[in-house]
Amino acid sequence: MTAMDAYNFAYLDEETKRMIRRALLKAVAIPGYQVPFASREMPMPYGWGTGGVQVTAACLMADDVLKVIDQGADDTTNAVSIRRFFQRTADVAVTEETEAATIIQTRHRIPEAALREGQIMVFQVPIPEPLRFLEPRETETRRMHALADYGLMQVKLYEDIARHGEIATAYAYPVRVEGRYVMDPSPIPKFDNPKLNDSPALMLFGAGREQRIYALPPYTQVESLDFDDHPFVASKADHACDICGATESYLDEVITDDQGGRMFVCSDTAFCRSRQGDAA
């Protein structure tokens, strides 16, 4: 595409990359704290991964191998679109294999395959503030984080239990980082929350429209909020994958007819395919 020839490596200009890189370093130094950054208008809509794209662009090296997933799958349209953007602007190698990737940009999932040291996960984040739905004002939530005043969140979780018998949050389930900041892990299913804890990979979170970057360094203690008498459970559909038979992977439910028929398949398409390969 000649249209992109006029743009810099990985699209962003160097000044913008420096600004994002400085924010990333502060984010790594203060795990779980949301660093404000001057998010740029990207050539894709806000809400479609502009934060993740800017973080990836600021991190990419020429010899990186990039994997992009949306809902766990490499072939969903927005994942295809973002992957193509970086192929075009950074001429970077791409892969669908989790193990082969050096940077994995994701929306809503953490891959099933174990991550390793040296890998970077980049999460696309719509609303980075875990307290936002309890308190809409940024000025208030910033003060709460400053004071580590998370009473509001405790009350909300407790009210859930009183009303529903369990904590009524199934995705974007809040975590506490190293006993200090309460953090939104992005809208991953709570099934994925345990993968955040003590991971060998570096986890970076970018929220473009909300202009925030935050991070979890490798080997960071990340606990999902819970109560002693209502401990956190990383739940998934109680089925095996109807394609590869995996029992430990997160599943998508697919409706197959209008008679109540359904099947369950791995949401991580690369994982599912690798198991089919093993079986064959």
């Binding site: 806000y46 799958a73 072939d75 349209t77 940024e138 998934k236 998508d252 398949v265 949401s267």
Partner: protein, 361 residues
Amino acid sequence: MYVAVKGGERAIENAHAWLAEERRGDPTVSELSIAQIREQMTLAVNRVMAEGSLYDPDLAALAIKQARGDLIEAIFLIRAYRTTLPRLAGSNPVDTGAMVVSRRVSATFKDAPGGQILGPTFDYTHRLLDFALMAEGEAPPAAPTAPADPVAVPHILGFLDRDGLIEAATPSDLTPPDLTREPLELPADRALRLQSLTRGDEGFVLGLAYSTQRGYARNHAFVGELRIGTVAVEVDIPELGFAVEIGEIELTECETVNQFKGSKTEPAQFTRGYGLTFGQTERKAISMALVDRALRWRELGEDFTGAPAQDEEFVLSHCDNIQATGFLEHIKLPHYVDFQAELELIRSVRAAAFSQMEAAE
């Protein structure tokens, strides 16, 4: 393998091809030129320049053509382009007092130096469809012109200012903050609020302004002056030691005169609201002035009544239509994974409730 939506490169490419075909429409109808859009869809071009924050009528026209007339999409194209441009220089503040006006009206004084100039306005047109335009007739006869009037057109509010009847607007040499290069930080100062409003969605700002007129933080605005015209843009060249004019832009400026502040110790004065926008965009400029005034409640010692137009965090967080449209439209992206998590949760909560009900029976 069965996967609900197989996206894939080809689906995207085909969608883009279809989009291009739809954009062009019936190929037996001649194609719109950029010049036609620029010259005949001027107000659309002006809105795209104002909310896109880029003064370039040709690019705005191109964006409108590419966006099939969807102005928010066109604004988005302009914003995404603008953000990649290098910052070569910062201009000096423009002097709207020296504006060459094409329109200038005051609702507060019947006449004033410089006069009332209606200019090219819809105001007194009767909104009757002009079927003659359907016939693609001749160009209209030239409008009568008056000889150029060398009389300066001073700001109306200057007359009130001279008598001390309106709050002083003290000039400042401080460089205003730049929303496009720094993250929004609250509370914002007035300069930042004005920058946000001038880029803000016309419909959103209009709705907020209208709400103040209907009593949600009513501030009794008079249009002290509305002026539209061209001003020179000057840039200091350090090597030369003076400023050079790099071009002219068309601006709309609205200054409102609002109900006064004052106390036993301080004589009453009118207060101000201010709007300034690219191009001929007067609905937006007037709306901006009303919302600016409503947002100044703290500085003017007024009460916060809880009205949306007074709420700086609410207004600034939601007035940008590119942010809003992106986030709104993203909910059509797949959310299978989060929804699946919700499904499991609701099934589990229901199962627990049913077993409790059974146990109770």
